[in-house]
Amino acid sequence: MIDPELLNYDFDEEKNGFAAPQAAVDSPALSSKEAMGRALLALGSMGIVLQVTVGIFLGSWLGILLSYGLLAAGAILIFLGRFQGTHPGIKHDGTMFRDIQNRGVLGWMLGMAITAFYVVLYFYDDLQNSWDMPPLLERPTKMLNPLAQLLSKGDANRWFLYGFLYTVAVCVFGFRMLLKYRHNKYQRFRTLSVMFFQFGFAFLLPNLLKAFHQPEFYFTYFWPLKYEYLFPNRIDTLKSSGAIGTFMVFWGLLATFVLTPILTWRFGKRWYCSWVCGCGGLAETLGDPWRQQSSNGQRSWKIEHWTIHTILILITVLTVGLWFDLGSWTASYKKSYGFFVGAIFSGVIGVGFYPLLGSRVWCRFGCPMAAILGILQRTWSKFRITTNGDQCMSCGNCSTYCEMGIDVRGYAEKGLNIVRASCVGCGICAAVCPRGVLGLENGMSPSDRFDGAQSPLLALTESIAASTVIPERKTMFPGTCEPGNCQCKEEAPES
């Protein structure tokens, strides 16, 4: 018998938890690649500091190479050092023990640093003009002039700087994802895809367009994420700039009204959110180390539900208001939307809070595009995550690593398919499940999409009805279902 006297059952596992175990072994020596990588990071940072302060090599190719070039090379070497030579498989040892990945001091510092960067990027120009501040971004921008000249035949501005850093982050951390998930083809293809679209369509092409005096345009961003693409004045400017501009207008309409519904019907939200979108791309690459920070409690679910749909309504009202010229309020409305949603929410909070709230803060709580895709996914897409019979043993890896904070386990342990508006189809839950329980699939009929609803329309009405009562999914076993959402079809007991 397990002797109660022997067991210290006063141990408070809730409060004290289980910290990183120590062993009496020397921590493994830094691999030569990692050591070199760190050295390159230090040199690269020095390169930036020297150019920004003293101005050596400022605005030359050598300058770019000795700063960003070294930083990227350093990071790549570190990732190689960490992942090469390990066995292909899930690499989450120690994830919960690292300060920087768990809102420790380093995590907070990093979060604040990224936030500060966004604040400077978005707002410093105004401050500088009105308060007569030193031109903080001038030299960092100037550093990239040779590249900007090459691509867009013009000097770099702060948006070029932003686009450049963003693309480098996606590619370098994308490389990390490729190494980390090298056993998983779904992850590899998806990562290559976001790297390709970010580099080709969100960085290279817009700059080349500029070089050929065409309007700047991102073919991978659509209304309502890139809301101004359906604003009347934007459409007018595009149309007036010739055949290419007209094609862009056509593309924007096609993407929003035809491609999005069709592709989402066929593949689910993921075709965009984790294969194409730049915001998703950054979340899946740079954000990967923090995906476990997304809260999967019920409270977050309630908040998310309200915020994301509110923003969808806000942007729809704005767009309609602009088209029908509904009054002068639209101008200030537009400005506030750009400020609060476009800058603060999607940028400052969306990326700055990666280390604190997980990698998909914007996608989960804010993005109106995700809201539309979600409604489509919930109501008429063929996509769902299927559960493999009764194999689930409730370990919770899937829920922990779901960046959208979905309680995947709550479905898996009851043998239910997962049809959730917010699921971006990243496939990480399926990858980390140690029992092979979860699978992303396209291709069932709408009838099993929403517990027996026979048509998309019925599914839609049921979906709306269900979303107002908030089904409690964080329950484990048959018998714990909420009224009206019961999965256990049993006869009544004797009284």
Partner: protein, 424 residues
């Protein structure tokens, strides 16, 4: 009506929720000494390796317990009085019950090895062992794991992830070969060695040596070899945890004896999960099931019966899954190492760690399907076995059973052409 449930594992918790579903007004008390809330025992290793915080291994949000009015009590039951319907608790003293469910799980086996009570010798069973392992690992450079089963390999992986040198003693000729057929077993041997574990096959523990301070200093094997180590993991299987029950009037054998409605020999007392031994009709062998899903199923049946329904436990078609380091394993139906070789169709990938096995009987009915490195669909395999499909039919439809993630390399054609020849 006051229902008391001993143990908050998968069995006890499922039972509690079932009773609450049927009987909104009954008083339900769940007692466990191990943890305040129910957590997933199979996730212990992920807590230790830092994949998940303890909180994430709890399948049920804390507020649900009070929402459902299930009272949780942290205590140990030390005696049961079935006549007077009273429990004796270690801290609180007596407690009355009207109906009782015993779901005390299992306990690790010990074989009376000399030195097995030294500091640094331990098993892996619960949260308490994780804490102990942290303390023991802190002075460990080399660890010896004894016992070649599923928990042994988990423990090896846990300690290995910390950089500890792990020596893995397996009594058999090959890892887990009393369960696994030779090909699968050999593949796992290979995986273990590739990971950098020092695998010693056909090696048994004779005694554990004291380092002079009441701690582990090393071990001696039955062949007389001495190995210096600071930690010994004993994972020689588990058996039903019913020592406390044995001292009561409730009938026990290896486990707590119950009929198919999971009722014990005592009135108003049921047992479910790892601790139960189910007597089957018609001279079939008694069932002791010690996996997660059977605990859940038995909890469901016991809960329903306690709440006043009449339900019988029918063991489902056997299935299970596991992960050996990075190698996933699924098994459905009867895959028995003793089966005649000619009744086994085995395909193995020439380079990658992948195996598929189809087992049939002389009447050419498929009775088992098993895979390594390939995910199989539970419902499909179960259906085929229940329908007694021929191996040829299974090969023909193999693609329907695949559950690998998208874009993964598929092998159905190779498997079909390789195994197809063998059944002609």
């Amino acid at each position: 009506m006051h229902v008391v449930i001993i143990g908050n594992g998968a069995a006890g918790v499922t039972a509690a929720f079932r009773i609450r579903q049927h009987q909104p007004d009954w008083q339900i008390t769940m007692i466990s000494g191990e943890s305040k809330y129910h957590y997933s025992r199979p996730a212990l290793m992920y807590i230790y390796m830092g994949h998940m915080p303890y909180q994430d291994t709890k399948p049920i949000e804390d507020h649900v317990w009070s929402d459902k009015k299930i009272e949780l009590l942290r205590d140990w039951v030390v005696d049961i009085d079935t006549q007077g319907k009273k429990l004796k608790l270690h801290r609180r003293g007596a407690m009355d019950f009207d109906r009782l469910i015993i779901s005390t799980g299992s306990k690790p086996n010990k074989f009376g090895w000399p030195g097995q009570d030294l500091q640094g010798v331990q098993g892996l069973w619960g949260l308490y062992d994780l804490k102990l392992l942290q303390e023991n690992a802190a002075r460990t450079k080399t660890a010896v794991i004894v016992g070649g089963g599923l928990i042994g390999i988990e423990m090896a992986e846990m300690l290995h992830s910390q950089g500890i040198h792990v020596i893995f003693l397996v009594r058999e000729k090959s890892y887990w070969n009393h369960i696994l057929p030779p090909e699968e077993s050999a593949l796992i041997n290979q995986i273990i060695v590739e990971q950098g574990i020092d695998l010693r096959l056909e090696t048994e523990l004779k005694e554990i040596i004291d380092n002079g301070q009441g701690q582990v200093g090393g071990i001696v094997t039955t062949s007389g070899e001495e190995i210096t180590c600071q930690l010994v993991g004993l994972t020689a299987g588990v058996s039903p945890n019913c020592d406390m029950v044995k001292e009561t009037s409730i009938a026990t054998k290896r486990g707590i004896l119950v009929d198919q409605s999971l009722q014990t020999s005592a009135p108003d007392v049921w047992a479910a999960g790892d601790c139960a031994e189910i007597e089957m009709p018609e001279g079939k062998r008694n069932q002791i099931n010690q996996v997660w899903y059977t605990a859940k199923m038995q909890g469901e049946i016991a809960g329903d019966n306690v709440a006043g329904m009449k339900r019988q436990y029918e063991p489902p078609l056997w299935y299970n899954s596991a992960k050996f380091f990075d190698l996933e394993y699924h098994t459905y139906g009867q895959v028995n190492r003793d089966l005649n070789q000619e009744l086994n169709l085995v395909w193995q990938h020439p380079r990658e760690p992948k195996i598929l096995r189809i087992v049939h009987n002389r009447a050419m009915e498929t009775i088992g399907i098993q895979s390594m490195g390939i995910r199989l669909r539970h419902r499909v395999c179960e259906k085929w076995i229940n329908e007694k499909q021929t191996p040829g039919w299974v090969l023909e439809h193999l693609a329907e059973a695949n559950f690998d993630p998208e874009f993964y390399q598929r092998h159905e054609d190779e498997i079909r052409s390789y195994l197809g020849k063998q059944i002609q």
